[in-house]
Symmetry: D3
């Protein structure tokens, strides 16, 4: 009787898509406007899905207050109102595409949840572009 529960969160950040091994021309060709030298930015909307058994005593899969605090510590405090390329360790050497951001977030949250839970994250970069990662 596994139920999935979801908590939404968000953070605003600047980023630039750029592969330092490539020439400027190749970066422009592959990443286009997302390669803008001085960065651009997004309102990232995050859905964190945790799947597990419902606890009979509480009726909860997981305490959403705990989940909210984990998301705050691991995601919002780290990435909100930041430049992902310049202000974070995670994306110093990793291109901050939505795909890579979702993997980084998943890994951080995974380490804070008990093994009995399954975890999936969905990240909206814009209302028209979004990604999903489940490990």
């Amino acid at each position: 009787m596994a139920v999935s529960v979801c908590r939404r969160a968000h953070f605003n950040a600047a980023h630039r898509l750029y592969n330092p091994k490539w020439t400027d021309e190749k970066n422009q060709e592959v990443f286009g406007k997302c390669n803008n030298y001085n960065y651009h930015g997004h309102n990232y909307e995050l859905e964190v899905w945790v799947t597990g058994e419902v606890d009979e005593e509480t009726g909860y899969v997981i305490d959403l207050g705990y989940l909210r605090d984990v998301i705050k510590t691991e995601v919002e405090d780290r990435f909100d109102h930041k430049n992902l390329n310049l202000d974070t360790e995670e994306f110093k050497n990793l291109i901050p595409t939505a795909e890579n951001i979702s993997i980084v977030i998943w890994n951080k949250l995974r380490s804070r949840l008990e093994n009995k839970f399954e975890l999936k994250v969905r990240l909206y970069e814009t209302p028209r572009n979004f990604v999903e990662y489940g490990g």
Copy 2:
């Protein structure tokens, strides 16, 4: 060639999270504001997903008019504008968390659908907290 079809519905209800086996202190510690003695409430948004083969004659997986009527009878007429703890049989002895509400709704809808269909429900308690259950 299985296709999933979804119908959205909604209901407004009051509830309180409370485990009668526990002290008031423990209830407050676990459920916080959701334990408010005089109840609080939500606009519940429900997605009902039915998966099956597409009928060649109709182009439908299932008649959505039938599905709408089943949702009305089993969910809306029962829970809309109600106090889940006081006005319903289902939650007299079951804590009305979003997880438990989704299981109750799934069971009711499951019994009204042919076995050839798969069923999943998603229940939004608020725009930021929601759950999903598929049996």
Copy 3:
């Protein structure tokens, strides 16, 4: 050069529409399901609009952090996860329709804002029913 700025907030509450001067029959006739004896509830979404001149030094009409704190103190702390009829002074003798809730909220916020600002509130009771009040 007046600009309007808006901050959204939300709170969840139970309520019941009921006029104590009327018979049960009349209450049922006028308020229907909203008259349910044991209450029902909503996710209230609130928009607070403040209009004023843009400050040249800050580029702000008003510090949205201040506005957020005022909304938290005057609205969220007072009404979130409450039964409006039973848990609040404001609706002990006032029917908690969306219209009356918006007027109560407007009056509370008005008293916390400088006179140079215009104020308007919009309150969503459900995604299909909402009200607006500007004094």
Copy 4:
């Protein structure tokens, strides 16, 4: 390390649900208002989900610019501002239910994507009725 990426698109179209093998009475009984002789219409919102490995060089699963162009050619140019029954080859002999439209779109997109990718489409016919198809 498979990640799913989604691109949203939309198109507006007229359609009519009608099975030419049936009598008018049977069509009316099964399809109701959707059988209106002179057509009605919808704003179709489309989500295209592509699942694959993240490319280390780009941080992308797939170039969303390429995906956007494929959706434009295969879906928008073909169906936007069209009468699905009269203006398209695809629905000359196929009832344009949301189920069938999603299968047609999936087949068109599948042929334009490398085999290494998984594909799923979700089609919103209205905000309350939608379907999903993954092959």
Copy 5:
């Protein structure tokens, strides 16, 4: 102490923008894809705003149940699942642009509301194009 209350509704319809006094070329030039000979369609979302004093006895500006019934009779029953050009009297000789549809709806609703109320309608033709009319 005037408060505005809003009720949302929706209808799906086919239409075509076409001025019979013009040549086909001019119609194509002015209306482009919206001139498609065989029609296209939309999910129209309607907001009906009524402004008036709050009744002390009910806490209501207007009975939203009455407003819902008026919208059903005057708008939904007339236009839902219809071809606006072919199936309605209103647009036999009037181009069914969003502007004209909003004026037609406003006139119909105005005649069903007491003079003490102000009326405004907002009509979403798509999520990106919408209009507003207040008489």
Copy 6:
């Protein structure tokens, strides 16, 4: 018989709130996280409202295709995927708050519209913070 028509658009940009006349401490105190030295960013959603008489020949207040092109030239081409502080002339010496961005956009669009039209813009910086300016 004035009708208002609205067209939505969007752009993604990085920015930083910072007054060069102030000390770092004062900037931090006033602008908080929005003062982040390396910028952060947003998905800006823009609504452009134009009010005027409905043309009898077209049924339009204004050709939305023209309006879309003006928004593209004046707003999207200028600000999309840009760093507002570094990449634009407009915000070299003007703090890019939502208030100031809306005034800049309004002025640009105003100069491209005939005098007979009224103009209002609404700019969403996040789903919870937005501004409106009408000249």
